[in-house]
């Protein structure tokens, strides 16, 4: 297992480089333009000058190598300097966003808290809700609990967040006036009352996303439990006189969690990717909003960097999922 992990990690390096190249080529091919959002009163010559000043005049391989250098060498050095207070070399050019003209990494760091709070919390909450629902639904298949659970999760999954979000805002902000409809990213939690404010502004986006996540995960959990409940080993365990609780919660659950782990692990990078629509609806302005604005504005450095970090997380969490497989199911051997 250890060897496997090492081998996979080493293999990840060329994979990631290839992915970064393909993303770069894709973005270069895409027809969006960084000057598209400027007012039409700005003449074409000026637009061309702006594009030149962004470095768009250089051939593509130079731009790619430059990005690699900035991202793989300059940014890590900066982080090191920042952490240890060292001074390595002089001024380094960082990856700069075309829209804001500021370092992309700083933008990401600025956006991370609200995304982790809202999207991350909703994901955790979704899992916490989904696993028991899936287990009970499967154990009592076709009971009223299962039927209601199925109905809610299907509605939760099939009704898009652009609708549920607005619905919640209309009910809780406009009619009842309980929660703010606009998320305040500058809000600082310092004491109990400011914590309450934070909770209030998080309730709606978190519940919208948690419903969506729980719906999906509970379906997989239920299906997987159902598969295992009919297995011979369950019958054997029951026949041996193992208590039902232990049969379900230890034997069946542990085996059923294997495919669900993949689903959960695959979902984690999406947490960092943010929830584009939900962030937009509640103005959370996290990483999802950063990405969509960058895509709309043709801001290649931001899109490239964000997507690449996203790819990095995907590769990492897939590796974690695979290792977890081996831990959860000793029959699987990679070596």
């Amino acid at each position: 297992m250890f060897n496997y992990t090492i081998r996979r990690s080493l293999l990840a390096v060329p994979t990631l480089l290839l992915i970064s190249l393909i993303i770069f080529l894709l973005l270069d091919l895409a027809p969006s333009d960084p000057t598209a959002n400027l007012p039409l009163t700005i003449p074409p010559e000026v637009r061309e000058k702006i594009r030149q000043s962004l470095g768009l005049g250089d051939p593509i391989y130079i731009r790619y190598i430059l990005w690699c250098k900035q991202f793989f060498i300059n940014e890590p050095l900066n982080i090191l300097e920042h952490i240890f207070g060292w001074q390595i070399g002089g001024d380094r050019l960082r990856v700069l966003s075309w829209q804001t003209r500021s370092p992309v990494v700083d933008l990401i760091v600025q956006r991370l808290p609200q995304t982790l709070w809202v999207v991350g919390l909703s994901y955790v909450l979704g899992i916490v809700i989904a696993v028991p629902i899936g287990v009970i639904s499967a154990y009592r298949q076709y009971s009223w609990f299962d039927q209601i659970g199925t109905f809610i999760s299907m509605v939760g999954f099939s009704v898009p967040t652009f609708f549920t979000g607005v619905l919640l805002i209309v009910i809780f902000s406009v009619w009842l006036g309980w929660f703010p409809s606009i998320y305040d990213t500058t809000h600082q939690v310092t004491d109990w009352s400011s914590f309450l404010v934070q909770v209030k502004q998080m309730i709606m986006p978190v519940s919208v996303l948690a419903l969506f996540n729980a719906a999906q995960i509970s379906r997989y959990m239920r299906a997987s439990m159902l598969d295992n409940l009919n297995q011979d080993y369950v019958r054997t365990a029951r026949a041996k006189g193992v208590r039902e609780r232990i049969v379900v919660l230890v034997h069946v659950l542990r085996n059923s969690l294997i495919p669900v782990t993949t689903v959960i692990a695959l979902g984690v990078p999406q947490v960092f990717g943010g929830a584009i629509i939900t962030e937009q609806v509640f103005k959370v302005n996290g990483l999802g909003q950063l990405l969509i604005i960058a895509i709309q504005g043709g801001d290649v450095p931001v899109v490239q960097t964000l997507t690449f970090i996203f790819a990095l997380l995907i590769v990492l969490f897939n590796l974690i999922a695979d290792v977890l497989y081996g831990v959860l199911d000793p029959r699987i051997r990679y070596d």
Binding site: T15, I19, F163, A223, N230, P269, V303, N318
Partner: protein, 305 residues
């Protein structure tokens, strides 16, 4: 668990086809029957409906805008005076077609890659890295590129609407198979170590047969879940695409688009979001029940009892 009436004296009857057994089992699943019934009704409604309810979905009767339900317009009209019923019917045609085809494509791709990666050790690494690549690709720029490259060619070859249909199905299909592939692969990895697989391996069963007879039937349940979620996902992705201007022409109704357009009018005309919202949810729900029933019906351990 539901009571399953045991088939009486199976031994004495002449051998019957496996699919009849499957159908018998499927029939005992009430949810599945209801789901199937509803789904057939929806399919009929969207295919035959427009011939019976003859108001054209794109016809604008500007004087009749923002109307509530009436005999002339049972579901009311939208902000331009288009009949909501005919729009829901016409929209369903597109949404269902996109949803089902894209789901099948994604499922086919996902299962194929998942099974191959899980079963053949040598291909596991490359295929999973390939999956990583697709997971990492940013969807929107990818769409822009695909549309830019292929729209005009397809438009010239098969006409604007079919062309866009093919593009959208392809786009949704090739960007949503990865999760299925990962899950199927995981299951296959575990299955491969099971006794019955080892047993049939030891008697020299060829790989193709092994996959079709032993592996695939056992990974059916996550595939069924993916299928249900896949249809919903495809319908919603399509609406996001038309919202971004990458989908069908704007006057071409789809369920997702109808829902999106009426969200602005949530407070003034709440009934307007109801129809497309219900249509999407109920369809997905019925597909889910059909999937449940099918899974049970295809599982010989349940069927035998």
């Amino acid at each position: 668990m539901t009571e399953i009436t045991p088939a009486p004296d199976t031994d004495l009857r002449p051998p019957r086809s496996q699919w009849l057994d499957v159908w018998d089992q499927f029939k005992t699943h009430r949810g599945a029957l209801w789901g199937m019934g509803f789904f057939v009704v929806v399919l009929l409604a969207v295919t035959i409906g427009p011939y019976l309810w003859t108001i054209e979905a794109q016809f604008i009767d500007i004087r009749a805008r923002n109307q509530g339900p009436s005999f002339a317009h049972p579901f009311g009209t939208d902000q331009l005076g288009r009949d909501t019923l005919s729009r829901v019917l016409a929209g369903g045609r597109v949404s269902l077609a996109v949803g089902i085809t894209a789901m099948l494509l994604a499922l086919g791709l996902g299962t194929l890659i998942g099974v191959i990666a899980g079963y053949f050790k040598k291909l596991d690494g490359p295929l999973m890295r390939f999956t990583d690549l697709f997971l990492a690709l940013p969807l929107l720029p990818l769409l822009l590129v695909i549309i830019m490259l292929f729209r005009d060619t397809l438009r010239a070859a098969v006409g604007p609407e079919t062309g866009i249909f093919i593009l959208i199905v392809l786009i949704i299909g090739i960007t949503s198979w990865m999760q299925t592939a990962r899950i199927v692969r995981g299951d296959v990895l575990a299955l491969k170590e099971r006794e019955f697989v080892l047993a049939s391996y030891s008697i020299g069963t060829p790989a193709r047969r092994m996959i079709l007879r032993h592996v695939l039937p056992n990974v059916l349940s996550p595939i069924m879940v993916s299928a249900t979620l896949g249809i919903a996902n495809a319908i919603i992705t399509e609406s996001a695409l038309s919202f971004l201007g990458l989908g069908f022409p704007s006057d071409f109704p789809t369920w997702g688009r109808l829902l999106f357009d009426s969200t602005d009018y949530l407070q003034q005309y709440p009934e307007r979001v109801l129809w497309p919202g219900l249509a999407i949810s109920l369809t997905v729900l019925s597909v889910n029940y059909i999937g449940d029933g099918l899974r049970d019906a295809l599982d010989p351990r349940i069927r035998g009892r």
